[in-house]
């Protein structure tokens, strides 16, 4: 998951969490606050009533008789006050929720009960406020609060995502424009990514510096390969042409003739090793283009026809079995040819007379597999890890070859991001499998 998505997800989830917490807590707070508020109003009213009683006397409210009760409520029964004589002292005001029946209707009240003295007598006073009114108010308050909350959360989430996108844009650019092309130092884009974030500026600069170093190293390596190539191949060239002239002049006795032929063979070996090492270096130095689209089935057929005399000579049967063809994008045809040629050539070289070779191609999951199987001498398990190293020949009793065929295979495979797998059983044969990502 991208950093940007993670940040957006994180900010959204955290806001949602806070929102849920608010949704749970807000009604509790509102009802607490409104209860407090109601209670203080009731206390207020009580004080006013007591003042009024002190001012106008209790007679305005109560008859002289023993159990007379004063009660007053407004017509919607939202509030009521009652006063009656009592003998029991309530030490401190009591607030409670309770129901009262008024004219056949039950009404829920927040009730304040106090006792007070007036002119030597003790009176009980109840002041009530309808809870329906309180609850209505609570509801309205809650709805407004939720509405404001949700709107403000939505706005902050959007702002957050927008801002983090804006902040991370240089980072995204660094990835898209730079990091994705690090494998091609030649094509690397050294343009500065515009940003005011110090960390990104530093990151960008560091990547650029690193790529400059890599690019320079690559260029030096290229120069070096080119010079080595010239310095090694020119003397070989001189010797080859001289030997060829000596042969064609025909002034030599037979023994000298043979020795020149032998020298030419030795020289050819030197030339092949040099060229092979240069080829490997050039591939590793990314001097080859990958502009071809190659049908691997066609390629297999081509390799077989190029090498058929070797099959004939050893009486080996080649079977090309492609259940699917695969057109390999962005590849180098000549290099892939060399790769497959080397594998097939080895399959012949290390095969038994009258043996068989199977070249299979098939799709498996997200991969295309190209296998070259032989019925040859096989490779002992302890040597399997060495076969791709340069100049290590597994079977030293063989006079053929000098061990650069498989290193070439490996180098070309790496260049094309192909994995090479080997399975082998000594005495039975080997399978070389190219695992190609089907993208």
């Amino acid at each position: 998951m991208k950093l940007r998505s993670k940040l957006s997800l994180y900010s959204t989830l955290s806001k949602l969490l806070v929102l849920i917490a608010f949704i749970v807590i807000v009604p509790i707070i509102i009802s607490f606050v409104s209860t407090q508020h109601t209670d203080s109003r009731l206390t207020n009213m009580k004080d006013k009533v007591i003042k009024l009683v002190d001012k106008v006397g209790i007679k305005e409210f109560l008859e002289e008789e023993e159990d007379s009760v004063f009660a007053s409520y407004n017509i919607l029964k939202e509030e009521y006050i009652s006063i009656e004589p009592t003998d029991k002292v309530i030490p401190s005001p009591v607030f409670e929720n309770t129901s009262r029946i008024w004219e056949d209707a039950t009404v829920d009240y927040r009730l304040l009960t106090v006792t007070f003295r007036h002119a030597g007598h003790l009176y009980l006073m109840e002041i009530g406020k309808s809870l329906a009114v309180v609850k209505d108010l609570n509801g309205v308050l809650q709805r407004v609060a939720f509405f404001v909350l949700i709107i403000s959360f939505a706005i902050t989430i959007l702002l957050n995502i927008g801002y983090s996108n804006y902040l991370l844009r240089p980072f995204h650019l660094i990835i898209e424009k730079k990091l994705k092309t690090v494998n091609h130092p030649e094509k690397f884009n050294f343009e500065t990514i515009p940003t005011t974030t110090a960390d990104f500026v530093y990151l960008d600069q560091t990547i650029n510096e690193m790529m400059h170093k890599i690019k320079n190293t690559f260029a030096r390596e290229k120069e070096f390969i080119s010079n080595v190539s010239h310095e090694l191949l020119t003397p070989i060239s001189v010797l080859q042409t001289r030997f060829e002239n000596m042969l064609s002049e025909g002034r030599l006795d037979e023994e000298s003739y043979m020795r020149i032929i032998d020298s030419l063979k030795t020289l050819n070996r030197l030339k092949k090793v040099t060229n092979t090492l240069l080829l490997i270096s050039r591939i590793e130095n990314a001097q080859y283009l990958k502009n071809d689209v190659v049908s691997l089935k066609d390629l297999a057929n081509e390799v077989i026809s190029e090498i058929e005399e070797r099959f004939t000579e050893k009486n080996i049967a080649a079977h090309i079995l492609f259940s699917d063809d695969f057109r390999m994008q962005a590849s180098n045809r000549d290099l892939l040819f060399t790769l497959l040629f080397n594998l097939v050539n080895n399959a012949i070289k290390y095969n038994k007379p009258e043996g068989e070779i199977f070249i299979r191609g098939y799709l498996k999951d997200e991969y295309f597999l190209l296998e070259v199987e032989d019925t040859g001498i096989g490779i002992p398990a302890e040597h399997l890890s060495n076969i791709f190293s340069r100049f290590k020949r597994v079977n030293t009793t063989l006079t053929e070859g000098f061990g650069l065929g498989l290193p070439i295979v490996k180098t070309i495979a790496d260049f094309h991001e192909i994995r090479v797998e080997v399975a082998s059983e000594p005495g039975k044969g080997s399978i070389f499998r190219l695992v190609i990502k089907n993208s």
Binding site: H230, T241, R242, K265, L278, E309, E313, N345
Partner: protein, 225 residues
Amino acid sequence: MNVLIVEDEQTLSREIGIYLAKENFTCDIARTKREASEKIYVNNYDFILLDLGLPDGDGLSLIEEAKNAEKEASFIVLTARGATGDKIAGLNLGADDYLAKPFSLPELHSRMQAITRRRHGLKKNTISFYGLVMDIQNRTVSCGDKEVALTKKEFDILHYLLLNKNRVLTRLQLTEHIWGNILEDDYDSNYMDVHIKNLRKKLSAFAETDWLETVRGIGYKVTLK
């Protein structure tokens, strides 16, 4: 025909010169770009064999220079730098062919012959030998109106031997011509013998084949008067 060999390695240009002289070419040698430039301006060459890495600069610009001076020489670029880019650049600038060093002298000679054929139209597009006719354009060999069915490789081998007639070609030279730069390490194979054997068998149905000689231990030779 006149050839200018532009090459800073003297021993190499001398050996090339010796070989080409025997094929009736008149050779001139230039060791630097400047020397080459002067010689191209003054003389008329049929071929310029051009090494790219010269002590006083890259030889590639000589091609353009010669074209601008309306010189008709054919260029063959010879380079040991081997960079893939050189080949493309050389051919784009109008070089007629490209040979990577080290090359074999018969190979160079056959390339020069191919260019000559291209340049002088298709007038002489067949080689006649011992009652057989090789059509280079259509890649066929026939006896009268009967065609000898040769494979691609058999044709190439015969063609190469005919181009380098009266010379011994080693198995190596033939192998290199047929398989080119496929990097394979069988430097002493007898696949060539198999091909020659088949070639003789096919041709013997139409004509004698003793002109296609085996030179024991070395290679093959076509004797043609």
